[in-house]
Protein backbone atom coordinates (compact mmCIF):
# COMPACT_ATOMS: atom_id res chain seq x y z
CA UNK A 1 0.00 0.00 0.00
CA UNK A 2 2.77 2.46 0.91
CA UNK A 3 4.67 1.66 -2.29
CA UNK A 4 1.59 2.45 -4.38
CA UNK A 5 0.89 5.64 -2.44
CA UNK A 6 4.55 6.66 -2.76
CA UNK A 7 4.50 6.16 -6.53
CA UNK A 8 1.23 8.10 -6.85
CA UNK A 9 2.66 11.01 -4.84
CA UNK A 10 5.80 11.06 -7.04
CA UNK A 11 3.57 11.08 -10.14
CA UNK A 12 1.77 14.10 -8.68
CA UNK A 13 5.12 15.89 -8.29
CA UNK A 14 5.96 15.24 -11.95
CA UNK A 15 2.58 16.57 -13.09
CA UNK A 16 3.15 19.70 -11.00
CA UNK A 17 6.62 20.34 -12.48
CA UNK A 18 6.00 19.78 -16.19
CA UNK A 19 6.51 23.13 -17.96
CA UNK A 20 4.58 23.32 -21.24
CA UNK A 21 1.16 24.21 -19.84
CA UNK A 22 2.50 26.77 -17.30
CA UNK A 23 4.46 28.41 -20.15
CA UNK A 24 1.34 28.71 -22.31
CA UNK A 25 -0.65 29.97 -19.32
CA UNK A 26 2.01 32.57 -18.58
CA UNK A 27 1.87 33.86 -22.16
CA UNK A 28 -1.91 33.82 -22.12
CA UNK A 29 -2.02 35.74 -18.80
CA UNK A 30 0.45 38.30 -20.17
CA UNK A 31 -1.69 39.01 -23.23
CA UNK A 32 -4.95 38.89 -21.28
CA UNK A 33 -3.69 41.45 -18.73
CA UNK A 34 -2.39 43.62 -21.58
CA UNK A 35 -5.63 43.67 -23.55
CA UNK A 36 -8.43 43.22 -21.03
CA UNK A 37 -9.40 44.54 -17.62
CA UNK A 38 -7.69 42.91 -14.63
CA UNK A 39 -10.98 41.36 -13.47
CA UNK A 40 -11.76 39.85 -16.87
CA UNK A 41 -8.19 38.60 -17.36
CA UNK A 42 -8.32 36.92 -13.96
CA UNK A 43 -11.68 35.31 -14.76
CA UNK A 44 -10.36 33.99 -18.08
CA UNK A 45 -7.32 32.64 -16.20
CA UNK A 46 -9.54 30.53 -13.96
CA UNK A 47 -11.46 29.28 -16.99
CA UNK A 48 -8.17 28.29 -18.65
CA UNK A 49 -7.22 26.39 -15.49
CA UNK A 50 -10.61 24.65 -15.50
CA UNK A 51 -10.03 23.62 -19.14
CA UNK A 52 -6.62 22.17 -18.28
CA UNK A 53 -7.98 20.33 -15.23
CA UNK A 54 -10.86 18.80 -17.16
CA UNK A 55 -8.61 17.84 -20.06
CA UNK A 56 -6.06 16.16 -17.78
CA UNK A 57 -8.82 14.35 -15.85
CA UNK A 58 -10.48 13.11 -19.05
CA UNK A 59 -7.16 11.76 -20.38
CA UNK A 60 -6.48 10.00 -17.07
CA UNK A 61 -10.00 8.53 -16.91
CA UNK A 62 -9.77 7.39 -20.55
CA UNK A 63 -6.36 5.79 -19.94
CA UNK A 64 -7.73 4.06 -16.84
CA UNK A 65 -10.89 2.88 -18.59
CA UNK A 66 -9.07 1.58 -21.68
CA UNK A 67 -6.46 -0.30 -19.65
CA UNK A 68 -8.87 -1.79 -17.11
CA UNK A 69 -11.74 -2.69 -19.45
CA UNK A 70 -9.50 -4.08 -22.17
CA UNK A 71 -7.84 -6.15 -19.44
CA UNK A 72 -4.56 -5.35 -21.18
CA UNK A 73 -2.58 -5.42 -17.96
CA UNK A 74 -4.04 -8.72 -16.86
CA UNK A 75 -2.68 -10.32 -20.06
CA UNK A 76 0.87 -9.23 -19.29
CA UNK A 77 2.77 -10.71 -16.35
CA UNK A 78 3.25 -8.17 -13.52
CA UNK A 79 7.06 -8.59 -13.68
CA UNK A 80 7.20 -7.77 -17.41
CA UNK A 81 4.84 -4.83 -16.87
CA UNK A 82 7.10 -3.52 -14.10
CA UNK A 83 10.17 -3.86 -16.39
CA UNK A 84 8.31 -1.93 -19.13
CA UNK A 85 7.40 0.90 -16.76
CA UNK A 86 10.84 1.11 -15.20
CA UNK A 87 12.46 1.07 -18.66
CA UNK A 88 10.19 3.85 -19.90
CA UNK A 89 10.82 5.95 -16.80
CA UNK A 90 14.61 5.46 -16.94
CA UNK A 91 14.58 6.57 -20.58
CA UNK A 92 12.32 9.53 -19.78
CA UNK A 93 14.59 10.54 -16.90
CA UNK A 94 17.61 10.62 -19.21
CA UNK A 95 15.71 12.40 -22.01
CA UNK A 96 14.47 15.08 -19.63
CA UNK A 97 17.96 15.67 -18.25
CA UNK A 98 19.50 15.98 -21.71
CA UNK A 99 16.71 17.38 -23.87
CA UNK A 100 13.85 18.95 -21.92
CA UNK A 101 15.05 22.53 -22.25
CA UNK A 102 16.75 24.06 -25.27
CA UNK A 103 20.08 25.79 -24.78
CA UNK A 104 20.27 29.40 -23.71
CA UNK A 105 19.11 31.72 -20.98
CA UNK A 106 15.45 30.94 -21.57
CA UNK A 107 12.79 28.32 -20.87
CA UNK A 108 12.32 27.11 -24.44
CA UNK A 109 11.29 23.47 -24.48
CA UNK A 110 12.18 20.74 -26.92
CA UNK A 111 8.90 21.16 -28.80
CA UNK A 112 8.36 21.94 -32.49
CA UNK A 113 8.69 25.71 -33.05
CA UNK A 114 5.72 25.69 -35.44
CA UNK A 115 3.51 24.17 -32.75
CA UNK A 116 4.75 26.66 -30.19
CA UNK A 117 4.07 29.51 -32.61
CA UNK A 118 0.47 28.26 -33.07
CA UNK A 119 -0.10 28.16 -29.31
CA UNK A 120 1.54 31.59 -28.95
CA UNK A 121 -0.78 33.13 -31.54
CA UNK A 122 -3.82 31.48 -29.94
CA UNK A 123 -2.76 32.70 -26.49
CA UNK A 124 -2.42 36.26 -27.80
CA UNK A 125 -5.89 36.23 -29.36
CA UNK A 126 -7.80 34.58 -26.53
CA UNK A 127 -10.35 37.05 -25.19
CA UNK A 128 -13.52 35.03 -24.54
CA UNK A 129 -14.29 32.35 -21.91
CA UNK A 130 -14.79 29.63 -24.52
CA UNK A 131 -11.42 30.40 -26.15
CA UNK A 132 -9.71 30.37 -22.75
CA UNK A 133 -11.30 27.03 -21.89
CA UNK A 134 -10.30 25.46 -25.20
CA UNK A 135 -6.75 26.82 -24.99
CA UNK A 136 -6.40 25.29 -21.52
CA UNK A 137 -7.98 22.04 -22.67
CA UNK A 138 -5.78 21.60 -25.74
CA UNK A 139 -2.58 22.72 -24.03
CA UNK A 140 -2.37 19.25 -22.53
CA UNK A 141 -1.73 17.66 -25.93
CA UNK A 142 2.06 18.24 -26.26
CA UNK A 143 2.54 16.84 -22.75
CA UNK A 144 0.69 13.58 -23.48
CA UNK A 145 4.03 11.93 -24.21
CA UNK A 146 4.85 12.39 -20.52
CA UNK A 147 1.39 12.11 -18.97
CA UNK A 148 0.09 8.94 -20.63
CA UNK A 149 2.88 6.65 -19.29
CA UNK A 150 2.41 8.28 -15.89
CA UNK A 151 -1.33 7.67 -15.99
CA UNK A 152 -0.79 4.07 -17.13
CA UNK A 153 1.54 3.49 -14.16
CA UNK A 154 -0.91 5.25 -11.85
CA UNK A 155 -3.66 2.94 -13.15
CA UNK A 156 -1.72 -0.16 -12.07
CA UNK A 157 -1.01 1.34 -8.66
CA UNK A 158 -4.64 2.39 -8.19
CA UNK A 159 -5.91 -1.08 -9.06
CA UNK A 160 -3.49 -2.52 -6.47
CA UNK A 161 -4.52 0.07 -3.90
CA UNK A 162 -8.25 0.17 -4.32
CA UNK A 163 -11.16 -1.67 -5.90
CA UNK A 164 -14.02 0.72 -5.18
CA UNK A 165 -14.66 2.69 -8.43
CA UNK A 166 -15.92 5.73 -6.53
CA UNK A 167 -12.76 5.97 -4.43
CA UNK A 168 -10.57 5.37 -7.51
CA UNK A 169 -12.32 8.31 -9.22
CA UNK A 170 -11.62 10.47 -6.16
CA UNK A 171 -7.93 9.51 -6.31
CA UNK A 172 -7.86 10.40 -10.03
CA UNK A 173 -9.46 13.80 -9.37
CA UNK A 174 -6.91 14.44 -6.62
CA UNK A 175 -3.91 13.37 -8.72
CA UNK A 176 -4.92 15.58 -11.66
CA UNK A 177 -5.24 18.54 -9.29
CA UNK A 178 -1.43 18.57 -9.09
CA UNK A 179 -1.28 19.45 -12.81
CA UNK A 180 -2.94 22.82 -12.13
CA UNK A 181 -0.85 23.79 -9.07
CA UNK A 182 1.70 25.80 -11.13
CA UNK A 183 -1.15 27.52 -12.97
CA UNK A 184 -2.74 28.55 -9.68
CA UNK A 185 0.65 29.83 -8.52
CA UNK A 186 0.93 32.01 -11.66
CA UNK A 187 -2.66 33.18 -11.21
CA UNK A 188 -1.95 34.17 -7.59
CA UNK A 189 1.27 35.94 -8.68
CA UNK A 190 -0.69 37.99 -11.23
CA UNK A 191 -3.35 38.83 -8.62
CA UNK A 192 -0.48 40.26 -6.51
CA UNK A 193 0.51 42.54 -9.41
CA UNK A 194 3.40 40.44 -10.61
CA UNK A 195 4.06 40.27 -14.35
CA UNK A 196 5.62 38.11 -17.03
CA UNK A 197 9.09 39.59 -16.44
CA UNK A 198 9.30 38.71 -12.73
CA UNK A 199 7.76 35.25 -13.17
CA UNK A 200 9.93 34.45 -16.18
CA UNK A 201 13.13 35.58 -14.43
CA UNK A 202 12.22 33.18 -11.59
CA UNK A 203 11.62 30.35 -14.07
CA UNK A 204 14.93 30.93 -15.88
CA UNK A 205 16.80 31.08 -12.56
CA UNK A 206 15.29 27.74 -11.47
CA UNK A 207 15.40 26.00 -14.83
CA UNK A 208 18.25 23.66 -13.87
CA UNK A 209 16.54 22.72 -10.63
CA UNK A 210 13.30 21.83 -12.46
CA UNK A 211 15.17 19.72 -15.02
CA UNK A 212 17.17 17.85 -12.36
CA UNK A 213 14.15 17.43 -10.09
CA UNK A 214 11.96 15.97 -12.85
CA UNK A 215 14.76 13.67 -13.97
CA UNK A 216 15.37 12.50 -10.40
CA UNK A 217 11.68 11.82 -9.71
CA UNK A 218 11.39 9.67 -12.82
CA UNK A 219 14.53 7.80 -11.75
CA UNK A 220 13.10 7.34 -8.27
CA UNK A 221 9.84 5.89 -9.58
CA UNK A 222 11.78 3.48 -11.80
CA UNK A 223 13.96 2.44 -8.83
CA UNK A 224 10.93 1.91 -6.58
CA UNK A 225 9.26 -0.26 -9.22
CA UNK A 226 12.39 -2.37 -9.62
CA UNK A 227 12.91 -2.69 -5.87
CA UNK A 228 9.37 -3.33 -4.71
CA UNK A 229 7.66 -4.81 -7.76
CA UNK A 230 10.42 -6.90 -9.32
CA UNK A 231 13.16 -7.79 -6.84
CA UNK A 232 10.90 -8.25 -3.81
Amino acid sequence: MFTSLGILILIMFILAFLQFIPSIFLLFSHYAHGQLSRKKASKLGYIFILGTYLGTTIIFLLTFAILVWSKLFSRISPTILSWIFSGVFFATSLSIFLLYYRKGKNTRLFVSRKLVQKYHVNASHTKTPSDAFLLGFFSIIPELIFTIPLFACATTELTILQTNPFIITLYILLITLSAIVPLLAIQIAYSRHSNLATIQRFRVKNKSFVKCFLSLIYLLIASIIITFRIIS
Partner: protein, 81 residues
Amino acid sequence: MNESHFDPKSLKRTLKIDAISVGIPSGAADDFINATIKSVEKSLSSKTQITNGDLERAVAKELQKYNADFAYVYKNRDKIV
Protein backbone atom coordinates in the same frame (compact mmCIF):
# COMPACT_ATOMS: atom_id res chain seq x y z
CA MET B 1 19.77 37.19 -42.46
CA ASN B 2 16.09 38.15 -42.00
CA GLU B 3 15.32 41.52 -43.45
CA SER B 4 12.69 43.40 -41.58
CA HIS B 5 9.94 45.65 -42.85
CA PHE B 6 9.67 48.07 -39.96
CA ASP B 7 5.97 48.60 -39.27
CA PRO B 8 5.58 51.24 -36.53
CA LYS B 9 1.81 50.62 -36.16
CA SER B 10 2.20 46.91 -35.53
CA LEU B 11 5.12 47.51 -33.16
CA LYS B 12 3.11 50.14 -31.26
CA ARG B 13 0.23 47.71 -30.79
CA THR B 14 2.52 44.94 -29.50
CA LEU B 15 4.42 47.29 -27.20
CA LYS B 16 1.20 48.74 -25.80
CA ILE B 17 0.03 45.26 -24.78
CA ASP B 18 3.40 44.54 -23.15
CA ALA B 19 3.41 47.88 -21.35
CA ILE B 20 -0.10 47.52 -19.90
CA SER B 21 0.63 43.95 -18.88
CA VAL B 22 3.75 44.89 -16.89
CA GLY B 23 1.74 47.58 -15.12
CA ILE B 24 2.75 50.81 -16.90
CA PRO B 25 -0.19 53.26 -17.02
CA SER B 26 -1.67 53.79 -20.47
CA GLY B 27 -0.62 57.44 -20.86
CA ALA B 28 2.97 56.80 -19.80
CA ALA B 29 3.06 53.71 -22.04
CA ASP B 30 2.07 55.82 -25.09
CA ASP B 31 4.80 58.35 -24.28
CA PHE B 32 7.47 55.64 -23.85
CA ILE B 33 6.42 53.85 -27.03
CA ASN B 34 6.32 56.99 -29.19
CA ALA B 35 9.73 58.10 -27.90
CA THR B 36 11.12 54.60 -28.49
CA ILE B 37 9.84 54.40 -32.05
CA LYS B 38 11.21 57.87 -32.83
CA SER B 39 14.65 56.93 -31.47
CA VAL B 40 14.65 53.58 -33.30
CA GLU B 41 13.68 55.22 -36.61
CA LYS B 42 16.50 57.75 -36.10
CA SER B 43 19.12 55.14 -35.17
CA LEU B 44 18.24 52.81 -38.05
CA SER B 45 17.80 55.51 -40.69
CA SER B 46 21.48 55.27 -41.68
CA LYS B 47 21.23 51.54 -42.41
CA THR B 48 20.36 50.34 -45.90
CA GLN B 49 19.27 46.90 -44.68
CA ILE B 50 17.62 46.29 -41.33
CA THR B 51 17.47 42.79 -39.93
CA ASN B 52 15.01 41.55 -37.30
CA GLY B 53 17.92 41.36 -34.88
CA ASP B 54 18.86 45.03 -35.52
CA LEU B 55 15.30 46.12 -34.87
CA GLU B 56 14.91 44.04 -31.71
CA ARG B 57 18.21 45.27 -30.27
CA ALA B 58 17.43 48.90 -31.04
CA VAL B 59 13.92 48.70 -29.52
CA ALA B 60 15.11 46.79 -26.44
CA LYS B 61 17.92 49.33 -25.87
CA GLU B 62 15.43 52.19 -25.93
CA LEU B 63 12.84 50.43 -23.75
CA GLN B 64 15.51 49.66 -21.14
CA LYS B 65 15.76 53.43 -20.46
CA TYR B 66 12.12 53.56 -19.36
CA ASN B 67 11.33 50.25 -17.64
CA ALA B 68 13.51 47.15 -17.17
CA ASP B 69 10.52 44.75 -17.07
CA PHE B 70 9.12 46.26 -20.26
CA ALA B 71 12.43 45.71 -22.07
CA TYR B 72 12.74 42.17 -20.64
CA VAL B 73 9.27 41.20 -21.84
CA TYR B 74 9.94 42.58 -25.31
CA LYS B 75 13.24 40.69 -25.61
CA ASN B 76 12.01 37.40 -24.11
CA ARG B 77 8.41 37.01 -25.22
CA ASP B 78 9.45 34.38 -27.77
CA LYS B 79 11.60 32.48 -25.29
CA ILE B 80 8.90 31.44 -22.83
CA VAL B 81 7.84 28.10 -24.36
